[in-house]
Amino acid sequence: MKISRNWLNDYIHSDKTDNDLEDQFTQLGLECSVSQIKINLDNVVVGKVIDCIKHPNADRLKICKVDVGTEVLEIVCGAPNIAKGLTVAVAKIGAKLGDFKIKKVKIRDTISSGMICSGKELAINEENDGILILDDNFTIGSSIEDVLELVDNSIFDFDMTPNRGDCFSHLGISRELSIIENKEFLLKKNKFSVSSFKSSDLINVNIKDDSICKRYACRIIKNIKVTESPLWLKNKLESIGQNSINNIVDIANYIMFDLGQPLHIFDFDKISNKTIEVRLSSKGEKITCLNKEVKVLSDNDIVISDGNSPIAIAGVIGGLNSFVNSKTVNILVESAVFNEINVRRTSKLHNYSKEASKRFERGVDCDNVVYSMNKFVAMLLENYSGETSEDYIDIYKNKISKSIVKFNLDKCNEFLGIDLSHKEVDEIFNKLNISLNLKGDEYLCDIPFYRNDIKVQVDLFEEVARVYGYNNIPSNTSFTFPSESFIVDSELLDNKIRSFLSFNSFNEHYSNSLYSEDDCKVDSFYKPIKLINPLSQDMEYLRNSLLPGLLRAVSFNLKRGTGFIKLYELGNINSYNSKTFNNADQHKHIMLTWVGNEIKHWKNTYIQDIYSIKGEIKHLFDMLNINNFNFNMTEQSLLELNIDNEKVGYLKELGKKTIEKFDIENSVFVCSIDLDLLSNYFSSKNIDYMKINNFPSINRDISILINNKYSNQDIENLILKNGGKKLKQLNLFDIYKGDNIPNDSKSMSYSLKFKSNSRTLTDNEIDGYMTEIINNLKNKFEAIQR
């Protein structure tokens, strides 16, 4: 919201610099940034276009002869709205517009001795589509600064928090400035003369429901003339970024920016039935708004109706049927307070967030309704002809009384960690226009009407804190830790895994967790959750797997020429579940991907394949100190990751169909682990120490010829089953196929290590196990010992 410093001077004057004020407003909780407008329009004067012909060498340019009083200048101009007879602003040779200095220039072989300016070039408004057209009454040759009454100004742009509806006006900001300056100011009385007719004779106002309209005031003004606004008003509105429309609308807008009360002006003659009715719309009711859009209303919009059909959506936008135009003679000015929630709902629903609704949504001051209306009347009558009624209508059934909030100084001091005296707190409340009554050890505080955000005691603590200054409150830097508030961090496991992976060449990735429908089908184990208001179709679902996000990143890197990729993501995925409080199950997963076959090296080229990958995963589980981990092949090219026979994840090479979706040609291995399941087996303290003993181990090797249909897993399971408890290690150290081996067979060599913790093993007992193993291999797998 823009606030003009010159405008603030109407209420209160400050000697502080702009930057000081910017800082002090910010310290009070009104974040703002200031920009200065310096008027420097020497050599820019009023001129009259006495001739305007097309440039012979350019379609869009015109050559103008412009009378600037002392001489007639020839100027080339490209503005579409330039024409003979116009009064314009001319920057003569030597004028400076910002950093741009006007010189004599040759444009397409014609010498141009100056420039005809647009509003933007003069920095007085944002108009840049054409030149600024001036009032024909201006004296030719006079300075633009003088005729346009331009003065230096500073504009504060506030980023207002939603609780401070009271600050959405120059009056509101002046109140805050009075805290900074520690000076009071009073509102001027509205003075105007009235005519003998009565508004109450001419219009019947009917509020259907007090809850939608807390207060409604209106007044009729007759015989007005709709014209252009005077310069000072235009300038004031333009300084805060508002375009001028006509005198009536401009004054109403002025009041809103000045006092914070949005007004609406009806063409009184267009209100049929001479009735104003404030009611909720009925569903399907239509209104053509003044911007010519037709809105279909819900059953929750507040409308102003003439008894039959709506003539305005209250607090949001006026209707075309009752709008003020150049033919308007009699008007009705409405100053009202509508229900915040309804206005908010309406402006959201119909997508109107205008200056007026913004103020109603945050709550306008009920106490200021009549003053604002009458200031409008006073301004209109002071500047233009017109007659107003001797009375006005003011419907305010449930008069709001000032709210009284209790305040306990000791509590305030304890809560903020300060030590204010009664005198100091009196001063603070005085600055805030809060009056105090001491009752026992508590104050009863009278809150001004406009501070609708102060409702309970902590709200007053905040007021005390911000006026006292947040930065004046000391910082307590000694800390206490009650032991009962400690909780074990469930991310310990995650971070252990992350650290392991970073040591093993993995890069951690975070992906966008909003997926398209197709993405959700890539790994459809979990049912995805759909959004009702997605940003786009590409992001309609919350992710149900980490896979698509990773594959997108893999594809991205392959396209940029990185061929060897080890990438993982650790994060939450969600699945739909109607039985939980949020219809969702959140699972924490990690997924790892491997792409690329080798890293070349002069001595030992590193080969990446399923076996190196299995080794890395086994290594990870070893590092997590998780025992009883093993791979279990349940189908071709898919290994389950099992702990104590519970599946916690899988490892596989992705199929062509999957990777093609992501435009990937290389083979991709992925490993997925459910961290919620894994965490059941992980404890940061699960180191199971065993006393070291020196009983020797016995090592045996075994080499068998076996049919290809038996997998290593089959053989290992059999050996482990028959090797007894003393078999501590089993290691495949050779596979051989080829010469001397039948085509359907392979030679497999294992080393076995037997060890006991309590005694020395004898060869005999180990021979027993070995015989058992060999016999079983022979009987069950037709293996031949080599």
């Binding site: 960690g417 800390f479 830790f481 400690f486 992350r498 975070y510 940003l535 919350l542 080890k566 890293i599």
Partner: protein, 339 residues
């Protein structure tokens, strides 16, 4: 010939061949082929092992193992490289590159979260984790943000149904936690949150936050300031200057924003601090009694403070990342830099 003799014979043959190998007359491949390959002498010794009577097997097996080890060690003890022609040259060029795997990395957002957790952990804060899908009640209503509160404009929300949404802030975990635990409370809640905002250089449809919540007897605004001052000095350095500005969040009262002094030394300092030198780092405040009422805490007995930090913002500042989208793209050349 007994197997023991065989072992001895092979050993002495190797001694001869080894001299030739050192002299460069036979290649490492050749010598390995003769002794260590599948069809080599050692291999045949192993296959003959089956003929030995069982009681001798361990002893003889051990002998073969020892021989194998000694042969391969002796070959490896000579540093050799093979040049184009397969000639062996004796070499000890220590300047040849060693083998190293690519370096891995940890995502910058993880690094920031870990660092912040560690700082608060030292003063007694534990971490808890909430759900990304939550209800309107936990995300808004219980935090004093009613359905038509203008503060909802500050947060454009993704909805799953009328009542279920993607959380817009980690503050949603406050009420969940307080419903199940009694004070004293010192928790952090890091996590992913979502906002229905177009993706651009500066904003993304999701980001990460860390929420802090502290509830105890007689907690004051001064305690809040001290805690966050400690954090700022730990994170940004001991000389860090901070300031607090009044702000507004429905779930805290008074509310504040904390700025750190970033300086105005470069053009980018001007840009990121909007010419003030100060940079907004986090939002905080004293827990609004309305929130305590949602969880039936006695507001006469307990008070507390809460704060929330945006991780992306801090990561971008700390590392000088100028496009938020880089954080979610997965470019390895980007990721690799964070360790």
């Amino acid at each position: 010939m007994s197997i023991v003799d065989e072992i001895q014979q092979i050993e002495s043959q190797f001694n001869l061949d080894f001299d030739l190998f050192v002299a460069g007359e036979i290649s490492s491949e050749q010598i390995k082929n003769i002794y260590l390959s599948r069809k080599g002498s050692i291999s045949s010794l192993y296959s003959n092992l089956s003929k030995v009577k069982p009681s001798d097997k361990p002893k003889i097996g051990q002998k073969i193992n020892n021989l194998k080890k000694s042969i391969s060690n002796r070959i490896d003890s000579i540093l050799l490289i093979t040049e184009d022609g397969g000639n062996v040259i004796n070499s000890s060029d220590y300047t040849l590159p060693g083998f190293k795997h690519n370096s891995g990395s940890i995502h910058p957002l993880t690094l920031i979260i870990q660092e912040i957790k560690e700082i608060f952990n030292k003063i007694g804060f534990s971490s808890i984790y909430g759900s990304e899908v939550d209800t309107d009640y936990y995300n808004f209503e219980s935090l004093n943000i009613s359905k038509y509160h203008p503060a909802r404009d500050m947060q454009d929300t993704f909805y799953i149904s009328n009542d279920i949404l993607l959380r817009t802030h980690t503050s949603s975990s406050q009420v969940h936690f307080m419903e199940n635990n009694n004070p004293p409370i010192r928790i952090l809640s890091p996590g992913r949150v979502y906002r229905n905002e177009d993706i651009s250089v500066r904003s993304y449809c999701l980001f990460h936050q860390i929420e802090g919540l502290y509830v105890d007897k007689k907690v004051s605004f001064s305690d809040l300031k001290g805690t966050l001052e400690y954090f700022a000095k730990q994170f940004f350095g001991p000389k860090t200057k901070i300031r607090f500005r009044p702000s507004y969040f429905p779930f805290t009262e008074p509310s504040a924003e904390m700025d750190v002094y970033w300086g105005l030394e470069s053009e980018s300092d001007y840009r990121i601090t909007k010419g003030t030198g100060w940079l907004e780092i986090l939002g905080c405040g004293m827990v609004n009694p309305a929130v305590f009422k949602s969880v039936d805490y006695d507001i006469e007995k307990w008070s507390g403070y809460a704060f929330g930090l945006g991780i992306e913002r801090i990561a971008m500042l700390k590392y000088g990342i100028d496009d938020i989208r880089l954080l979610y793209e997965g470019d390895i050349n980007f990721l690799r830099q964070f360790k």
